[in-house]
């Protein structure tokens, strides 16, 4: 289940350098740099509009930066074809967003099984694996319900299960607790970080909540499209 990390320890798993991105006249990123090592959990913080989501979208190959590059395991995302990038997102990346973004017509179990089905796993096996992930996220009881019939906290845990079911190497989480109260938010964070650590997945966690960021190994602050990493002297 876990990814071997030995070959990845020296160079970062995911490396974004000098990213720039404008939306019309609006600079969303203005020289952002972020390196993520295998298995580490990095919090990306910063005020609203600072460019956190844009950075995450560039890292995941969803948005193409105007300048700078993103390398994943040594390969530059912008030189891949669209098909290669979508394949990568399906096999190596997992996603959790602020509002679960589960498919409303499917049951929670089917939602979690979906990424496996899309990768060609047969229904029976996909649903068995999905059920195990729902159990790990402590939401087995909602397996047969549709997303509209579960609470926000349960929905987010289903979304985390869906993000991890393919045992991705990187999980991108954009404000995964943003719509939850603090107790539910903490539960989602505990389960997400436990699951990521046990499978060896790295997590890029966008949040503006310090208590959520405190679940990460380190934090990077985005200000006006620029990243800033504050390293304290070891004490």
């Amino acid at each position: 289940m876990t990814h071997p990390t030995t070959d990845d320890t020296d160079r970062p798993l995911l490396a974004a350098t000098g990213l720039r991105k404008n939306y019309g006249a609006t600079p969303a990123l203005d020289g952002a740099t972020l390196h993520v090592r295998a298995g580490e959990i990095v919090a990306v913080m910063g005020s609203s509009g600072s460019g956190k989501s844009t950075l995450l979208h560039c890292l995941a190959g969803i948005v193409q930066p105007d300048a700078g590059e993103v390398r994943y395991r040594g390969r530059t995302l912008s030189t891949m074809s669209d098909a290669e990038r979508s394949a990568l997102r399906r096999t190596d990346f997992g996603f959790v967003f602020q509002f679960g973004q589960l498919v409303p017509e499917l049951t929670c179990l089917e939602n979690v099984a979906l990424p496996l089905r899309l990768s060609g796993v047969r229904r029976r096996e996909a649903e068995q694996r999905a059920a195990r992930w729902l159990a790990r996220l402590e939401v087995s009881d909602v397996a047969g319900k549709r997303p509209g019939e579960v609470s926000g906290g349960q929905g987010q845990r289903v979304a985390v299960a869906r993000a991890l079911v393919t045992t991705p190497r990187v999980v991108f989480a954009d404000e995964p607790t943003g719509a939850l109260d603090s107790l539910n938010g903490e539960q989602v964070m505990r389960l997400l970080t436990e699951a990521a650590r046990s499978t060896g997945a790295a997590v890029v966690l966008v949040t503006h909540e310090p208590r959520v960021a405190a679940y990460a190994d380190r934090e990077v602050v985005v200000r006006d499209g620029r990243t800033r990493e504050i390293l304290l002297a070891e004490r």
């Binding site: 970080t193 208590r211 990460a216 934090e219």
Partner: protein, 191 residues
């Protein structure tokens, strides 16, 4: 870790612990350390000084003495006055700390006045706050419910500090501008 029971409330905490049943001094110390002392256990000197004060005030009485000498032989029981006292303490709200004398604010102003980079000072503090928050979070996720509640108390307070750091960072230019104009009188004596 901060001590969660302020020194002045050790007495009332002892009274509360004695309400259940009479206890020896060393039992009180053990219970206190287990439940409230965190990383700062009480010294025996503190324990017996507190008990002596409570005895003198009539809030506890000696319930039994085992043969031998020394304070550790005595068992203490709460008195009716002691119950009244602990009841009053529990129902009295704590004074909200307003932290108006804020070292960080002073550091920010001084660094602006001396032409230093105030944003760096805020960032360094922010990183240190988050480092402590990560430690508390680790402890919380491996601990029991008591650990969780105690760490959460600290975490929510540190988070409040961080919000202040963030807002101040966003207003540094504004603050620098007001510092460039001569200090105005905050007491309303403006012509």
């Amino acid at each position: 870790m901060p001590c969660i029971v302020a020194p002045m409330s050790i007495a009332q905490t002892f009274l509360g612990l004695l309400e259940g049943s009479p206890r020896h001094g060393y039992e009180l110390k053990r219970l206190y350390d287990e439940r409230f002392g965190q990383s700062r256990p009480l010294h025996y000197g503190q324990v017996y000084a507190t008990l002596a004060r409570l005895l003198k005030g009539g809030l506890i009485q000696v319930d039994g003495v085992e043969p031998g000498a020394g304070p550790e032989r005595k068992r203490y029981a709460i008195t009716a006055a002691g119950v009244t006292d602990v009841e009053r303490w529990l129902n009295q709200p704590e004074k909200p700390d307003t932290y108006l004398q804020n070292t960080l604010y002073t550091k920010v102003v001084l660094s602006l006045l001396t032409g230093r980079n105030a944003a760096d000072i805020l960032d360094i503090q922010r990183a240190e706050h988050l480092r402590v928050m990560r430690e508390l979070t680790r402890r919380k996720t491996t601990g029991d419910l008591a650990d969780q509640l105690i760490c959460d108390f600290a975490l929510f307070h540190l988070e409040a500090d961080l919000r202040w750091l963030e807002q101040t960072a966003a207003r540094l230019d504004q603050l620098a501008a007001t510092l460039r104009t001569p200090a105005s009188r905050p007491d309303g004596n403006v012509p």
